[in-house]
């Protein structure tokens, strides 16, 4: 388990968990700049929290576009995201803020 993740990483992990995530998807979902998203994805991949796979060429051909690289959470990634979300919620609580849908 790596050290506790930053908000940016958590945002990206959450966006990946939403499913069928490729880079632009994650950029749009998180609203983060692409220059932050891609290196962070690389780092998360190296720490084993996400893995990537290229989609089947035939699926891409059917839609007449280049094949995409999809990202998904590993088991460790799911755990890290939950632990991180808990931490954020705890922090928010200690500040007296209400967080909806954090858990």
């Amino acid at each position: 388990m790596p050290r506790s993740l930053g908000i940016t990483s958590l945002q990206i992990l959450a966006a990946v968990r939403a499913g069928d995530a490729y880079g632009l998807d994650i950029v749009t979902r998180t609203g983060l700049p692409s220059g932050t998203v891609y290196p962070t994805l690389g780092r998360l991949k190296r720490s084993g929290l996400v893995r990537s796979r290229w989609e089947d060429q035939r699926a891409a051909d059917r839609e007449g576009r280049p094949r995409r690289k999809y990202y998904e959470l590993t088991g460790d990634g799911v755990k890290a995201l939950e632990a991180g979300a808990g931490r954020v919620a705890g922090l928010a609580e200690s500040l007296g803020l209400r967080v909806e849908g954090a858990r």
Partner: protein
Amino acid sequence: MKLERLLIRAAAALVPPSRRQEWLEEWESELAALDRARAAGARDVPGQLSFAVGALPHAVWTRTEGWTLDGLLQDVKYSVRVLGLSPGFTLVAALTLALGIGANASIFSLVNGLLLRSPAAIHAPERLIQIARSYETDPRWDNWSWPALGLIRDQAEAFTGVAGYTAQSFTLGTGADTERVLGEEVTGDYFEVLGVRPLVGRLLHPTDDVEPGAHRVTVLSHALWTRLYGGDPSVVGQTIPIGSAPYEIVGVAPEGFAGVEAIGTPPALWVPAMQNPGFHGDLPFAQWGWSWIQAFGRMKDGVTFDEALASMDVVTARLRDADPVNEQILIRLTQGVGLDPEGRREARTLAGILALVVGVVLLLTCTNVANLCLARAAGRRTEIGVRRALGAGRRRLIQQLMAESLVLAGFASLIAVPVVLSADRFLPMLFPYTLSVPVGADGRVLLFLAAVGIVAGLLFGAAPAWTAARSDVLGALKEGGTTGGRTRTRLRDVLVASQLALSVALVASAALLGRSLMNATSANPGFDPTGLAIGVLDIESTRRYDDETSLDLLDRVVRAVEQVPGVRHATVANSTPIVGGHARATMQPLGREDVELETEYNIVGPGYFETLGIPILRGRTLAGIHDEPVRVVAVNESLAKLFWPGEDPIGQQLAGNPPWTVVGVVGDVQMRSLRSPAQPGVYFPAEHASASMVLHARGQGGRTPDGEAIRAAVAGADPGIPLRISDLRQGVAASMGETRTIGYLVGAFALLALVLAAVGLYGLVSFGASERTREMGIRIALGARPQSLRRLILGRGLGIALLGIGAGVVFSLGLGHAIQGLLFDVAPHDPWALALASVVLLGTASVAAWMPARRAGRVDATVSLRD
């Protein structure tokens, strides 16, 4: 190809080759997805370009992912050790680089202070808007009249407030203990609109600015307060004599607050505009045609610049209704304060030229250090060969050599830091204007310095790293082997040739600027500045004269100065060409409502044209101060041609109450600067003295009269008038300050470039000659004559020189074009400048190549073959 695609291709070059294909495929795919999303009308997706920019950090991350701190630290440690082994090389290389890096960071510091940094003590300066007067048919950036300013303040809905200011010189103190300081007359809401808070006491309020002459209060600048009162807060409530009248000090402005202008002497004090003490009484506050105050406003919260601009339509309409003078008036706005649009353009141009020059110097120093490194690499061939033989990969070697270059560049940057930190001391000397904003280094400048250092390190480090990586192990390890250096030598040829090319460009530019200065000093601005002494007669500060008695005084002063030995003519005038500003007013030929023109005007004493050396083309000169009872004027040639084309201007009349009759036509004079052409102008006789008149005295035989003698003569008329005499010719020369400054700078750098290029060429030719000593020996043994050997070596050096000079001439054309704005009466492609630069470079190159060639001619066959 689209820009974003190009960007991704460029970024891909950074990605390690093993992963490049996949990396590129992912980005291409993402971009395709983005295109589809945008085509489908998605609104929450980023723009293509801003999305593609992210590829750069991603590529950098991919490249550096595998780097470990250990390896990096090891490289740095090793680099420091290697550099420490040859301290001479390290010092010379670092000093050379520090010069290039320091010059770049210093110029950036200037740009930072002038254009990037917010002015001190002003709240939210980006919400301030400069408001200027212009006309439909006569676009300009100009002051406002008092009534116009009031109307704008009342009508400008988009602004929380509109304030005005004008620069003014004040006489502080009384009797012999007086001094002149520059200050500002400001509207009562000036400080409120700026959002400035007092350091001590209070600042001015609108209630301080209600009735002409009724508010003797002043706010001191921090600098004046410290200088005069040692920073004593109890000055509030005390009085200070300004122009012989007591003013109450109500407060002190915060430290660093220097008004809203970035250029010019910072104001020492502020007084309410309504306190404007002068001969004119209430007139400046009543007349629509008398424009003297600069205006700015602060936008209300939530108002955008475009909305502010749109809101001016109503104000413009009201202005036009208010007075016929405003018939074609337009309001121009620009966001932020500091410099007006023209000033910003000039500062950008000047900064651009400076940046170009120091950029060339950086390139030059990088080339030079690259050359040094290559020469040193020749000596390290064995070391590198051994390391490769022991299994060091190319990549590892390149990384090590690049680390070395970066450490060297870091060392050079450290040397440059103190230079840049003292930039606030030497930059104002280089810059041709007085700067009121600080131009010292801050965090941003140091960041820039670090960036330049890294770029420099990468630039000069590339050459040695590349050649080292290509060298072959066997050749390097063969003792005394000389073959491995083929690419290295060719690269050095190219480097030396580019050094020569850069030098040619700098020398040519220096020549262009030099010629401009020579042309400017010998140009004919319509009057003869040689042998003219001038000095401002500040009659007003004595507070002892009114309209009539001040005319008597001027009369006495002129007569007294004319008696001074060495003075041929003396006169007074409202303004002096080139150095002393120029006044403008709207003129109209009598009975011609359709023709109206804002022209320059000057109020002149007797013998003005004779004193200044302005030719009288038709009619007569203007007579003595009391000798022109009827309203007569002289006009210049341009105005005569414009108002009365094909007619005799003498006897024509200008509209006025009563009208003015033209009695003389004189030659055109360039009033504004040597670079701006003469404008139509009118000369009024000195029937009405203005607050401060300028004394002009022409010496005999082209010699400037003695300033002390003139002062004594003026003191004879009234000892209480402050007077400083200066030489008009020097003033005119100083007006070419930018050209001179850049000229000196480029000249100095050109000299430096020459030396660097000569040393580079010398080193290259000597190196080539020493590598061929054995060959020389054989040639001599076979009967070659020393001359032919000399020619062999010299020819190689000159070949490189000619190549460099050829490229340099092309480069000069570009550089000359860039500095065109500073040139005076000389084309940027002036063949003489190019020829001069080529000859100087060829001469220098010949000397540099001849020295090693001479040595080659003396090679002793037996010695060289035995070794």
